[in-house]
Amino acid sequence: MNLICKLIEDIKSRKRDYLLNILEISISITISLVITILLMVFMRYSVETALSAYSILFSHGFTNIPYLLTRSTPLILTALAFLLPSLTGLFNIGGEGQFYLGAITSLVIAYYTGSAILAIITGGLAGGFLGLLLAILRVYKNVNEVVSAVMINRALYYILIFIISTYLADPIIPHQSISVPRSATLPIMHIHGLRVNCGFIVALLMSMCVAYIYYKTNLGFALRASGLNPKAAALAGFNIKRLMLISFIIGGGMAGMGGAVHVLSVIHNIDVMLIGLYGYGFLGIGASLLGRNNPLGVIFSSLFISGLIIGGQWIEVRLGLPHQLADLIVGIIIVSLAIPFSYHYIKLTLKRYRR
């Protein structure tokens, strides 16, 4: 009870900030939907096609709850992967590569040990290692972390294809890796009559862990302070370099775990073109931004973006339009979220015109 009172008091003092955030999110989603329609019309799609695409998107994207939860699981984790380093001012674009590495590591460990827990842990470690690499390059060698991340992502893509097709190929089924043994798969559980994939539970747990760190520990406090005012954080004795490294380790670990969980609970093997793993890194960035870089907020934004992606798949099935439509919407959301205080700016321009 006391906890809830405190929470309410917390929210009250930050009421204005929370409302502002919600407003910004709504504005960017709306802008994105509108611009997408305009673009489609510009590309000579008929307006009816566009509108029916939207109706399918929203009617089918969010209705299959178990599938929605399953799809959003890896997204929550890759969102956390982007979130933590962003607090220190750095951008973890390497989520994609960390995801892949975590997936393949967990596959191998699961195959040889049959233990899901071991697989998830090693997947996380692999991802964390990759994240640490990016951070070291940035902190000590001043290499821009975006460039190094993309280079590593792309190189890793090819290297992993090579490893899978050469060493981990399934002897019977072509174009596919060995499969996760039964003992190591993550089961589907039944909670209140709902079929929930165990992986989603893992993602929720991780999100809550990160939230706990964020709010209740010195580390989280240091991260938040560094993001808001690096000079003040330095006066407090917080070492920004150390924070950058730690945030990338934990962040990379989250993405690695995302890959592990996805392999263990959903796809159970990795196809030779890595199609089953593709894209979660980038969407995670969108989910993190849409969740306003808040560990609990990313749960909701991941659900939303997953709904968009699922809707996109339905659009492709029903109308034949490429599912990249959903990617487009997410991309525009990201761009519009890049504009700070868009609400303030609108208010100011209105004031200026009134004079």
């Binding site: 439509l325 525009i332 890049a338």
Partner: protein, 311 residues
Amino acid sequence: MIEDIVTLISLSLTTMTPLLLASTGEILTEKSGIVNIGLEGIMVLGAITSAVVSNITGNPYVAILVAMFIGLSIGLVMGYLSAYLHANQIVIGIGINGLAIGIATLILYRVWGEYGGTPTVSKIMEIQVWIASTILSIKPITIGAVIVSITSWYILEKTNLGLRIRACGENPHAAEAMGIDVNLYRLTLTGIGGLYTGLAGAFMVVNWVGFFSREMVAGRGFVALANVAFSNWNPLLAILGAFIFGFFEAFATFLSLKVQQFPLPEYLSFLRTTGQNLFGAFPYIATLLTVIVIMKKVRIPRALGKPYVKE
């Protein structure tokens, strides 16, 4: 032996062109203080635009112009958001990269009904020089790219305009006090950077492979960013850098073909099949290592990436 060298140089000149164009454009943008990591997306859009226009009009030159126009427009939008609305420049770039694939795929489907790539479109002629029974092909846009780089260097370092541009990137408050409209400069130069990058995308379709495929840009936008830092924001060095990075790619392709021809010991035979993927990874790793080695000695424009907020 000579044939191999000629082939390598020929291929390197080609692979270096989109890198050089995008790098030069980005150098101009960054010298004014804006960082644009959406180069990849702009290249994709330039490529798909040139494919569509070349297909519709049958004229590759018009396709190039339209692609440049598209690049310019996107650059101007990004410049406006970054300079006047103080948006987070990195996040905008991420967004542009994401939505570019979305738009390209949608266009692809609309025009051709395909999801992966287009059929061939009209191309520009290339200059072919015979050397020792191999062709050294020089594409006209390659020459154009080098000229553009040299011109950009001259403008930046030797003219009044260049001094004013550089002031925007070093100390925008001082530049404003000296009578320079910093935001206008930043807007314009981001647009110009987009224009060059759009041309880079168009080059790939209309002067190189002759068709558009969804994965064709393959991270070149980011290699261009690496080249910007590698060249210490100097367009002349960017020519060298683009050649080096282009060479990595050319060499990887070259090697992957060579292993098919040469006799290999048993344990290396995988290089002919699944190992081909390793050649794909090579350019990226080589680029990354080069950047790591070189990063210590460069000098970044002081105000790069920070929004200029008038007090």
